[in-house]
Amino acid sequence: MIDICNLGKVFRRPAWALAARPRTGARSVRALRDVTLTVGRGEVLALVGPNGAGKTTLLRILATLLLPTEGSARIGGADVVRESGRAKRLLGLAAGDDQGFYWRLSGLENLEFFAGLLGMHAAAGRRRATEALERADLLPMAREPVGRYSTGLRQRLAIARALLGDPPVLLFDEPTRSLDPVAAAGFRTLAAALAREHHRTVVMATHNLEEAELLADRAAILTGGIVRETVAMDGPGGLTRRYHTLLGRPQ
């Protein structure tokens, strides 16, 4: 479902932007180098690694938000650069720090708007929005303005938005970062059901190794923009041990 081949990304400060940007700092930063991964239909892949490892950059390239510097990535056969429109129809993205809502509108109104951008007309959009809110356990808050939502509730709303178009590929960036333990468990149950029962492909960046072990079929350990190792889940603690072997234990 997802094919990533020799993907690389270097952030360069463009010459024309020198006047508009801070002149301090490095002129270029390599965020990803030679990443090759394949994720099958119904598979859950966890991206783990320290801060700055390139997890979010990889997810953003897959989400068509960022252009890679080299290599290619395909979602359902659609190249994320050349066929970004088709790729966008196949994916849903939810980020842990998602601010992408209109705070004066209710959760339902927000999702109805995004459903419109997915090409759904009013009635279908409302139905899908209600279903997505139900899946994210947000129906009781559906008519409240998003400004009154807690961080965790907004995160659940972002997950609901990712589910709105029922896409075959779901990209989650630290999906449980602000969730309470019950909501986090609810997310894991939902993500597992989406993968196992509905054969959705899930790629999830997380710092929570236990969560990755519970949910993922495989985990890619990234450091410095490189996939150091892809680990198949073979029982509790396996990923954590491998991660600490590669990256060292916290003192």
Partner: protein, 267 residues
């Protein structure tokens, strides 16, 4: 495309109606502006300014057409850039760009509410001016007005696209629209005929689409001139539209490509 535009319109209506006072003020403000222009116009004696002869010698009619049209066309030019800036500041631009809606549909959708509000304001200008105060709009030529308005809009839209590209790229407030609007107020003949300007400024004014738009609109609305009589200004507006549109499309494409390359979406 329709679903995207309707969704944007509904969203902007909901956002605007969440602050009804601000929405109402946009109409009330026009109610204050029209009498102000009327009483200002009474200071200008009939025939005192030869340049106003083309406007039937009535300054009030002249300035109402100018202000209403400038309000509408400035909004048309700035709507997209303002919407892009709001999405940047609100942190929603990434969310919009990750969804499969096409950029032209999105750009039109997020601009439409502001354009409709400005069109409503222009209508209130004309309604108040013609119903409450004496104006010289009885001989308006609808075909001439329509042609002039449509072509002025067509010439302003690429400028709006350029402004939106600037905002996308630099993540700064829209300087282009603000500058053009100020220059237009000075040179395009919003408050006074361009013929009162010194020759150098008069020549510079010819490079602004609004100059041709206002001249054509006034001729059609006040003197009843049809499209044939407006041919010179309509041709200039068409040239602006045709010349600027490809540049604006390229600028938008470049801006979108650059933000996807740099990852710099929000403010």
């Amino acid at each position: 495309m329709t679903a995207t535009i309707l969704a944007c319109l509904r969203r902007d209506y909901l956002l605007a109606s969440s602050s009804r006072l601000a929405l109402a003020w946009q109409v009330v403000a026009v109610g204050f502006a029209v009498p102000t222009l009327y009483y200002l116009g009474r200071m200008v004696h009939l025939g005192a300014v030869p340049a106003l002869r083309a406007a039937g010698g009535d300054y009030f009619t002249f300035v109402v057409v100018g202000v209403a049209a400038a309000t509408f066309f400035s909004a048309m030019m700035g709507a997209c850039a303002a919407a892009v800036r709001n999405e940047q500041l609100g942190g929603t631009i990434e969310t919009l760009l990750v969804l499969p809606a096409s950029f032209p549909a999105l750009a039109l959708g997020v601009s439409l509410w502001a354009i409709l509000v400005a069109a409503g304001q222009a209508c209130v200008y004309f309604a108040l001016a013609s119903m409450v105060f004496p104006t010289h709009l009885a001989h308006a030529n609808p075909a001439g007005v329509l042609c002039a308005a449509a072509l002025t809009a067509a010439a302003q839209v690429p400028l709006g696209m350029l402004a939106a590209a600037f905002v996308l790229l630099f993540r700064r407030p829209d300087l282009l629209t603000g500058t053009l609007a100020s220059v237009s107020v000075l040179l395009a003949g919003v408050f006074y005929p361009t013929s009162v300007l010194p020759p150098a400024l008069r020549r510079a004014a010819e490079y602004l689409p609004l100059t041709h738009g206002l001249r054509a609109l006034r001729m059609a609305a006040i003197q009843g001139a049809g499209p044939a009589a407006l041919a010179g200004d309509l041709a200039a507006l068409l040239a602006f539209a045709v010349g600027l549109f490809p540049v604006a499309v390229l600028a938008c494409r470049f801006a979108l490509h650059e933000i996807r390359r740099s990852g710099a979406f929000s403010a």
